[in-house]
Symmetry: C2
Amino acid sequence: MASIKEIAQLAGMSPSTVSRVLNNRTYVNPAIRERILALVQETGYVPNHAARSMVLNRSFTVGVIVPEAFSLTQLELFSALEREVAALGLLTHLFFVRPEAEGELRCLRRLKSEKLDGIFVLMELTDDALLDALQGLGIPVLWGALTRPGAPFPTFSVDDEAVGFDAARYLGGLGHERLGVVHAGAAAFNRLRVSGFRRAREGAGQAWDEGAAQDAAGFTPECGRRAALSLFGRRPELTAVFAATDELAIGVVRGLFELGRKVPDQVSVLGCGDVALGRSLTPGLTTLRQPVADIAARMVGTLQSQLGGESPDELRFVFAHRLVERESCRRLGS
Amino acid sequence: MASIKEIAQLAGMSPSTVSRVLNNRTYVNPAIRERILALVQETGYVPNHAARSMVLNRSFTVGVIVPEAFSLTQLELFSALEREVAALGLLTHLFFVRPEAEGELRCLRRLKSEKLDGIFVLMELTDDALLDALQGLGIPVLWGALTRPGAPFPTFSVDDEAVGFDAARYLGGLGHERLGVVHAGAAAFNRLRVSGFRRAREGAGQAWDEGAAQDAAGFTPECGRRAALSLFGRRPELTAVFAATDELAIGVVRGLFELGRKVPDQVSVLGCGDVALGRSLTPGLTTLRQPVADIAARMVGTLQSQLGGESPDELRFVFAHRLVERESCRRLGS
DNA sequence: TTGAAAGCGCTAACAA
DNA sequence: TTGTTAGCGCTTTCAA
């Protein structure tokens, strides 16, 4: 692989001049600039990233922290982020957090070894040491979608409590009174969705039935399927279910199918997130939409201004959710 | 961020010694080794990746080339690869190829700027210049799943022609005679699946009907949905469809639903790939399984031996596919 | 068993 | 407008 020195030699100039050309610095003779550019083209020379990174003390890449078990929502968010970040001329680097005990710390080590320009966190982090360390890095850290309240970084998400609230209201408005919830355990966004759901129920004069809430202990459709089996084994009278994520909802529909319950004829299922896949399912998934593209655009915009030296004026970016009606929910009795 | 110098200073030793400790070199006083290790622990020091990368002339990371529009199969393959690669102590770096004209070349530039240890290609590359350049890099390049015949690198995939053949045989064995195929256009793996399918049909004495093959012009479920609409608009008499990928199959099921045709009661749909999601759908997707985990394990194993200086004894790693029967296909008339 | 010194490829002062 | 020089953080001879 050619180095800047060789290009310089070929051009009969010094490496500095080549560097100036490559970085669009002023004070270069136009003719020489052309010559060097041609040489670069010809040889296929590409500057060594590590070397630039070292001298500039930055890597022109932003880290993205995700759990090893990637959800569709996280994938969509990542895709959108990647595209936006690329448009800024930056690279993206995925850091997977494995579920093992030291997973988060391990991730931190890798994080620290790069001179990242910024970090997007797309999951809930539980280790406070990591949080502190992230803060200590002195680079922008932005938290997307699955937010933990009280996070010491700007967060970008829908109002999860309101989402849950609206879910219950929507199902109630359809005439359903016996509602279940399938959620994925302890994650904050998840708990908020459930508590909003509960608030709406209680506000509507319905006593909260703890047995109508099922912890799926995970985010995969398979978890949702098992959750539906347990839930309906315990509460066969339910006519509608809110699943805290679309993937869970997919599994719930499946579980119901295995139980011989038709969706939406006998049971309505409401998802959350609005992953692209939802519209291609049968029945199409009715869901509360999380505007992933908007979230990504805002995150990258904020990163950019932070990179430009500004500190963000907001710490909580809350995006509007909205109902997307497809076919998995139906008015009771219709 | 602490540097190796500061650790050395704290330990009262030279940077060389610290480096030796960090890299498990011999000839270090055990007591001093302990002291340095403690210091590293304490300060949270992590070596600068760029600096190591520069001096060692390698980045300890393997590049993974994927299309910007990531399919579920590609995602599953990537996940498996990432896990295996991490176990080797290497990092993984995604390179997205955008569909734009210069997408592949742009990707190449980024590739060359890193000193990658190896490259996994998870998509079909069309630009010969890229292929040549990849070869010229002098590092292992391994091609996974979506293979182009004649690729100058080791490839890892199922026998796509045989997959298509078995698809037709399976559907024929179920009593279906009026078969359709939905495929995703020009990609080689895709064409092979179709031609195997065709061969089986013709072998069974059925004339090939070009109108029963529908190009979905893409890999998303939405493409599959539209393809189903066109296909059944033209050939309403079809009783079974083979979709060249599971995602296409999902869309086909959806399209059929929109047309009022029940799957599998009226039309059978056979997918290909066996993505995890398939089992959670309603109906569960019957599909030809591609052993993604095995493929990933083999790819990483081969990379490892190439890194160890061996050159691979095989160039075509062909994995066994197998039928996974779920609920989307049914015997005709039953 | 340890340290000094050189150098990886690049950029940025500074001098010319 | 260009070249010289120093140095980013690390590893690795080579010498002690």
